[in-house]
Subunit: 215 residues, 2 copies
Amino acid sequence: MSETPPEPDESRPDGGPPPPRRRVNRREQILRAAADVFATQGFHNTSLADIATMLDITPAGVLHHFGSKTGLLTAVLELRDDTEPAPGGSPMLDHLVTTAERNSERPGTTQLYAVLSAESATEDHPAQGWFRERYTVLRRDIEGAILDRLGPEQRGPAGAPGPGGHSPAGAAAAAVIAVMDGLQVQWLLDPEAVDMALVTETVIDALVARLARGE
Amino acid sequence: MSETPPEPDESRPDGGPPPPRRRVNRREQILRAAADVFATQGFHNTSLADIATMLDITPAGVLHHFGSKTGLLTAVLELRDDTEPAPGGSPMLDHLVTTAERNSERPGTTQLYAVLSAESATEDHPAQGWFRERYTVLRRDIEGAILDRLGPEQRGPAGAPGPGGHSPAGAAAAAVIAVMDGLQVQWLLDPEAVDMALVTETVIDALVARLARGE
DNA sequence: GTCTATAGGGAGATAGAC
DNA sequence: GTCTATCTCCCTATAGAC
């Protein structure tokens, strides 16, 4: 299953800086394994032993690098594999569709965030603050992207605060995020049943069109 | 918190069936406690002891009634507190908004399904089949409701199979469900940040308008 | 710096008391 | 029919070996 790359003896002529390790760093190996198994099993349902076994070490070997199971979770979340940086403004909306498409080919990552985000809504979950912050930032950014796409002339009413202190564009932003999240669960349970990218695009278009009409 | 309604002593003139218990039935008490705590803590993170403690019995006392922890989960899911039966056809769409509104006042139930549905997307989760089936039925019903609202004249293109074998109305149905689910997670993490009913209504309207325009 | 041995405290479920 | 005593297993984390 897990291959352990051979470790060549590294020669250091002078008494230089601390020896660089050929092996990518145990820490990274553990992070990858943890991300995989948190995704397929959830956080609470995963034991340190599950992760340790994948690397042929003991559970305590894992804990050494992260202090606690919670510390490991935090590190996994920070990992954020942003292969491509998210653009700002109107192009961000297209980027969201692309992301949905990409997620269809990475069940592991998709599952990781889908499962953990919902699990974080339980009492005193260690990832709660992380996800709360993430949603706050996402809502703000996507609201900006929507206003950007509408253009200055149509922006007026959509940007103004509405009921509950939220602007229509802000509500639309929450909706877009919600659609993407909700679709992931449906897709994970039944991949044939939904086309995440198509539906995401449809909802974005429908919401932007509605805002453009000033409703 | 949970009130235990008094059980009137039922008089049996003849030597009828086994003696009625004054207490509502242990089974029901356990179900309510389990639903509460599954909601706030998730399924995997909840122990039988957590539930047993609430009723001042031992974990095995709980297991007696349901055989296994999984059996208890299944029973909780079947519980479905459909206070009001969901209508069919176009009124169902209004009912969805009402449901979102009601969910804002029942964090417990909201959390139960939000957390469990995502958790069910993990490997071999006992509730996986239940949620898969639930989504399949919901998508079909809501698709019907959308077509109903569109009316016969506009229904044509929306009902026809599109890319991936799914009709535009079917995609919209998946989107509506996704929005409701996704909003729940955002709302649970930050109740002030989103208005579930408002956003749900907005998305439904935007999607129906789009279909009506034949896009 | 990296990891193992072991502690110490639950977990779910079986078997059987009342 | 209802529940407890108890078994066995597995969990996270500390302390310390190499």
